[in-house]
């Protein structure tokens, strides 16, 4: 029996241009970021699901992060999620720094050069010490709240954590091959998180600190980026479905009789919004079920 995702993927119509751009990005490697934008219900998440499926077919490592009112990932949440999706074993230094900043039982050791933060010698963790980690994976204690002191600006925690994360991510991508990272519903990101994504992650790609990593950024609008980031980015603005795509969709949903007359009616009622079309077809199906 096909899964709900498989059914949705099979019903996918149009968006071939966007998909070929995405595949081209993976093949050539000349561009590393794709901005997908479009209004509510225009099928951004469906397109993303198809891209993720493409990555699975190509056997690429991937990470998927979706924002919602309740899952509002901050910069630390994003880094932890990418680490967990890619493989915690590649992010030991980052995890150690995270624990230093968030776990009240761990004392921070500030080294002269924070880009190589000195691991807290003597720290007891999983029956071992960080000083002799060799092969043991450092466990993230997954605290969200920083230590009890007041007023240490988030930006001060952010930089050493980001530096450690980018170093580990860059090394992981060199070791395991291309990685794809998908951000969905980014319009729900907070101002601070959005600034971090553009200013740290995308900047690292643009400057070459991160290689072999592809980002797909999906939201209502394209973020404001400088021309340097723009030069390595693909853009895809999703528009309304066309009549012929609607006919194809109706047929895939089991309305074999559907033709351009049906499509024209739907276009007038929904202005080609894919979600509204799909919801209307749900209603049609319900009506038909009632009758039978």
């Amino acid at each position: 029996m096909p899964t709900e995702l498989e059914i949705r993927l099979a019903e996918f119509v149009d968006r071939d241009t966007e998909m070929s751009r995405f595949c081209g990005m993976l093949d050539s490697g000349t561009r590393s970021i794709m901005f997908v934008s479009g209004g509510g219900g225009y099928g951004k998440s469906s397109l993303l699901a198809r891209m993720i499926h493409e990555c699975a077919l190509r056997d690429l490592r991937k990470s998927e992060i979706t924002w919602s009112e309740t899952q509002n990932h901050d910069y630390l949440g994003i880094m932890r999620r990418i680490r967990d999706d890619i493989g915690v074993e590649y992010f030991q230094n980052f995890t150690t720094v995270v624990n230093q900043f968030t776990d009240p039982s761990i004392r921070i050791t500030v080294a002269a050069n924070l880009s190589n933060i000195e691991v807290a010698h003597g720290l007891q963790m999983e029956g071992s010490t960080v000083g002799d980690v060799g092969g043991i994976i450092v466990k993230d204690n997954m605290f969200v709240v920083p230590k009890g002191d007041r007023s240490i600006p988030e930006s001060e925690r952010m930089i050493p954590l980001t530096v450690a994360f980018l170093q580990n991510l860059a090394a992981a991508a060199l070791k395991i091959g291309p990685i794809a990272v998908f951000f969905d519903a980014v319009e729900k990101m907070t101002r601070e998180t959005s600034a971090w994504v553009v200013g740290e992650l995308f900047h690292a790609v643009q400057t070459g600190t991160l290689r072999n990593i592809f980002f797909v950024h999906c939201g209502r609008e394209k973020p404001i980026v400088d021309r340097f980031v723009d030069s390595i980015a693909e853009e895809a603005e999703l528009g309304p479905l066309k009549a012929e795509d609607i006919v194809l969709y109706l047929q895939k949903r089991g309305m074999k009789e559907a033709n351009l007359d049906y499509a024209e009616l739907l276009l007038v009622a929904t202005k080609g919004n894919p979600l509204q079309i799909a919801t209307l077809i749900d209603a049609v199906m319900k009506q038909r079920q009632k009758r039978t």
């Binding site: 924070l114 969200v144 230590k147 530096v163 749900d282």
Partner: protein, 506 residues
């Protein structure tokens, strides 16, 4: 009847974006439609939350319905839960708010209890999620308690500097805009203004605070806080006249309404504004009044802050010993609060005061205490600042290797934390210290790096000044040409004079 005619008739019923959901509900059996509408109350629902929404439904039937809903187009499948698509949820949630029915309140209450029971470990992601969800549904169940809970969480996040979390909380509470009382709306707006204050966007924060004070039903304590904040945002911009005007308004209102909680803080903030604008006597009176009132209220935190401010005031007035006494009193009050960050700041001030007196050994001890506490608190930028302060102390104690080590460490931290201006100053200081002991290559490298950092910080004047310093250092030691010409000329004059003297003597 043809299927196209049916289709046409059905489509004719849709007008507007939300009509498609309405139409879908019309085609569902009434019980299913009611259950679908209930799904819009939580942000997302797994099977356990789904069952909670409709306790009267048999578990097996609920599971079947959950499965059925998961295949509908306006339903988004998450990894372990379902959620309605944004537009559909917004439309149905607004309908609940407009009805404001007892059913909505009852469902909200059940959700409050559900998230209350969450056994998540404190400080974990699950705990933060459950706490926010509990707050959200509390607003639906009991608005006043919900708003109180919102304020508590918002304050916690703000104090920890997690401004993104504050923004996310505001987005959650805004979903209730339609039913919030005017007083609650004004409180939410006050917190939004505070967020922009923390983001240091002074003009936007001021605009929002002014909108807050314009609301008639704003509770008086928030009116006082808002005027106080308007004053503080002017103080942050060093606009003392406007700062004092608004801070005085806050003090006047606090006195009129006998707000003994807020008054000591308002007096303190006004006192520091007068101090920084140069009116030391008036500042001293206000800070003492603040201490007096805070003592009555046993507000230890305010007393500690006021003594620290008094210490700085006395230092500025030249009475450094008195300043030191006040700093020490501040430390006494901070001790039971276990506030490492502020304690470290007071020790830093003590270090500076002893340096003013030329008591270098004591100054070094105070700075060291500050360093230890800042390391403990993870205050890395504070650490770098104290290390910078330690440099002249080590120089006066003739401990040049320690001065160089402190400067190198401070430079490295400033650079890592991307504060190019502070890094540039520290690197230039490092070059100056090394002029006594270092190699030419080291000194030149430090100067060049400082110039580069000043340029990164876009301070081109300082970059130029540093360049001149480097030039004066690099130029080979020697006397200028005109100097040699003058010496030769003088020698000729002397020789001529002696020769003439000898000749005339014969």
């Amino acid at each position: 009847m043809s299927s196209f005619a049916d289709f046409q008739r059905l489509i004719a019923q849709t007008t507007g974006a939300d009509a498609t959901v309405e139409l879908l509900l019309l085609q569902m059996e009434p019980a299913a439609a009611k259950h679908f509408r209930l799904c819009a109350i939580p942000h997302q629902f797994d099977l356990s939350v789904f069952k909670l929404l409709m306790p009267e439904v048999e578990p097996v039937q609920a599971e079947r319905r959950y499965q059925e809903f998961s295949c509908l187009s306006p339903v988004v499948n998450l990894t372990d839960a379902l959620t309605l698509h944004d537009q559909a949820r917004r439309f149905l949630f607004d309908q609940w708010l407009k009805e404001n029915s007892s059913e909505f309140k009852m469902v909200s209450e059940r959700l409050v209890k559900h998230f209350e029971k969450s056994g998540a470990v404190q400080n974990s992601y699950d705990y933060a999620y459950a706490r926010r969800q509990r707050m959200f549904h509390m607003v639906g169940h009991d608005q006043s308690t919900g708003i109180e809970e919102f304020e508590k969480i918002f304050r916690d996040e703000r104090i920890k500097g997690r401004l993104g979390e504050c923004e996310a909380l505001l987005a959650l509470i805004r979903e209730y805009d339609f039913i919030l009382t005017q007083a609650h709306t004004s409180i939410v707006l006050y917190h939004e203004a505070r967020l922009w204050f923390e983001r240091r966007d002074w003009s936007h924060a001021e605009k929002l605070f002014r909108a807050v004070v314009a609301i008639d039903s704003l509770p008086q304590s928030y009116r006082i806080k808002s005027w106080n904040r308007i004053g503080l945002l002017f103080a942050k911009q060093r606009c003392w006249k406007d700062a004092i005007l608004n801070l005085e308004r806050a003090v006047r209102l606090a006195k009129e309404s006998n707000d003994v909680q807020m008054l000591p803080f308002a007096l303190h903030d006004l006192g520091t504004a007068y101090r920084d604008s140069g009116e030391l006597d008036r500042s001293r009176r206000l800070l003492q009044e603040s201490i007096h009132l805070a003592e009555k209220m046993q507000n230890t935190s305010c007393i500690a802050a006021a003594y620290n401010s008094l210490g700085t005031l006395e230092r500025r007035g030249g009475d450094i010993r008195r300043g030191i006494e006040h700093y020490k009193t501040s430390l006494e009050y901070l001790r039971p609060l276990h506030d490492h960050l502020r304690t470290a700041q007071v020790y830093n001030n003590l270090g500076a005061a002893y340096a003013d007196l030329g008591e270098w050994e004591t100054s070094k001890e105070m700075y060291k205490k500050s360093l230890d506490l800042k390391t403990e608190a993870g205050d890395t930028i504070g650490l770098a600042r104290t290390l910078s302060n330690l440099i002249p102390v080590y120089q006066h104690l003739f401990r040049l290797p320690d001065a160089i080590a402190a400067a190198e460490k401070a430079t490295s931290i400033f650079e890592t934390l991307r504060d190019p201006f502070s890094a540039a100053v520290a690197t230039r200081n490092l070059a100056k210290i090394r002029r006594g002991t270092g190699t030419t290559a080291e000194i030149r490298a430090n100067y060049l790096r400082a110039i580069e950092l000043f340029r990164d910080a876009k301070d081109y004047d300082q970059a130029e000044a540093t360049n001149k310093e480097l030039y004066s250092y690099s130029r080979p030691v020697g006397m200028p040409g005109w100097y040699w010409t003058a010496i030769v000329f003088l020698l000729l004059v002397v020789v001529g004079f002696v020769a003439w003297h000898l000749l005339t003597a014969e």
